[in-house]
Assembly symmetry: C2
Homo-oligomer: 341 residues x 2
């Protein structure tokens, strides 16, 4: 059986979620896709676990959850950039949280991996939102793939839906609910007449909100996703600063009540065509009127017409579904590469 | 530029829709997908247009709309089965309407094409619903592809969404609104208090309903799609007669009114897990509550959770989007086939 070797960079909630599914789905991947996924390195801030024959993931998960990853028998003081430089793999999974100012360390992880001719799959929004064109150029130059389905919409495979299922279509516009926290807050305010602060507290308690909830509430997270979709699916050349951003901090219960009376709800909409993030009135019966922490994205296409897709916008397991979509696609293409003598 | 040769069997609404988009998107396909789509034959009941260097589609469309296809300069008395037997192509597009009792002539068109080692893309529900396993076996044996995205959900790429974007997921269940006519009727009855007969007449006038509207209303069309999804996406071995079918003929305005009062709408749901077609109560705020002739399909998956996709369930142009999804995928795989000396 062919083996596909991966390096995991970042072993937080997302990284561990991916590792769990690699274990859970080992037989499924062998049977359905004909390959074995072998983790040859896991990198964290203070060092790495490295094993050419495959890291013992079970042990890594147990230790990581206790904050004692360095007790793993294959622990090594090598840092991520050394691992990228010295360890060979087919795919690097860049799953660190990115600094939204400069996209680091994800940006450099991705860049160096591509330069070493390793494919990259990432869930890291910031480097893709800030430097997509540059990274894509490096990927093309080195004849490897850069994939980032998990950066937008959690479990919703919006990028691959366009590239693998709606290929003949030109996308006229994309817009929708791209942030689960704000949708949770607005839904609670609408459906349970909760006030903004109580709804935000509840989102925090449920672990839905980002560690810095202002990224959610002030529309920054949505704007990052708008930039990613603009540059990738709509093939624009957009900088993050080009996006007009208005969050939901000023939405009052009175405004929501008034909207309701006229058959509308208020939703925070990321509009990729207009490069704009803003609260908008949506008719109650509109497909984008989804509740709780769901995300919903609408594509207006020239041939298929409007297509809407709804799903979980966050969660380690749900996000892993998108990461695997990219991993499997790259793995399939590895086996199709010409290998004539 | 690589050329991909296709035979179109059936030049009705769908066949002409595809031909129009082949013309419209010629440059797009060259630029984005790197191939030229060349129609080498168009088969109708009484004969065919055949041209090895590519049929003049513009002329074929003009003549077909006037019911005078036989005036085309490349018109030939050869029937579809002779064309399949004698003309070489990469892909056969089987776009005839199928008889729901035996799936003919589509079933034999598909079978003979596969046996001649030509890939097949079809929008023809009946042969896929009735004989999927047999046809798939013939395709595998001959190392060619059988694709049928357009048989379910019109523009909604539900099959490729699963196979190309949610690959790691096992599908626990699929259910939804798979027929636009019944949804149009129920929406009119709900939103405008129209009675059943008036709503059906309106659907007929708009050309949404099938030529025999009982296929829509009595749930047969939905059941065909349930069978297709059960056999393909859920990998079951289901016969059409295994599906329990109840249509919407007996839904009264009173029932709809009562549902509304309690926050529900009535929708005709095809449930692939339960092999059942029946009218069901759906909460107003549920993602499957879509209006007009829209279709909406929900997949419950083990990793991504619930994913809902909404789009146009019918229309020549919209259906062509799904047909092209299959054509492009097959064309990509043609160019990746090993060609070592």
């Amino acid at each position: 059986m062919k083996s596909v070797d991966v390096i995991i960079i970042g072993f937080g909630v997302i990284g561990r979620g991916v590792a769990r599914i690699i274990m859970e789905k080992r037989d499924f991947l062998r049977k359905m896709n004909g390959f074995d996924l072998r983790v040859v390195a896991i990198c964290e801030i203070n060092g790495s676990i490295i094993s050419e024959n495959g890291v013992d993931l079970n042990n890594a998960l147990l230790l990581s959850e206790r904050g004692r990853l360095e007790k793993h028998r294959d622990w090594n003081s090598m840092k991520s950039f050394d691992v990228i430089d010295k360890i060979d793999a087919d795919i690097v999974l860049e799953l660190t949280p990115g600094d939204i100012k400069n996209g680091e360390p994800g940006f450099s992880h991705i860049k160096e991996s591509l330069k070493r001719k390793m494919n990259v799959v990432t869930s890291n929004k910031a480097p893709i939102a800030l430097n997509f064109k540059e990274l894509q150029k490096i990927a093309n130059k080195n004849d490897v793939k850069l994939r980032y389905e998990a950066t937008v919409g959690g479990a919703i495979p919006i990028i691959n839906l366009h590239q693998k299922c709606l290929q003949i279509n030109e996308i006229r516009s994309i817009y929708g609910i791209l942030n689960g926290t704000t949708n949770y807050i607005l839904s609670k305010m609408t459906e349970e007449d909760m006030n903004f602060d109580d709804a935000l507290n509840e989102a925090n308690e449920l672990g839905i909100a980002e560690s810095n909830p202002s990224y959610d509430i002030d529309g920054v997270d949505t704007a990052l996703k708008v930039a990613i979709l603009a540059n990738s699916v709509m093939d624009k050349d957009v900088r993050f600063k080009d996006i007009k951003i208005q969050g939901i901090r000023d939405i009052t219960q009175e405004a929501i009540e008034l909207a309701k009376k006229h058959g509308y709800v208020i939703k925070l909409i990321g509009d990729v065509g207009r490069l704009e993030v803003s609260p908008r009135l949506i008719p109650v019966e509109h497909p984008l009127n989804v509740s709780g922490s769901l995300n919903a994205i609408m594509m207006d296409t020239d041939i298929a017409g409007e297509i809407t897709i709804v799903g979980h916008g966050a969660g380690a397991k749900e996000t892993a579904s998108s990461i695997f979509s990219d991993i499997i696609d790259i793995s399939d293409s590895l086996s199709l590469s010409p290998s004539c003598p």
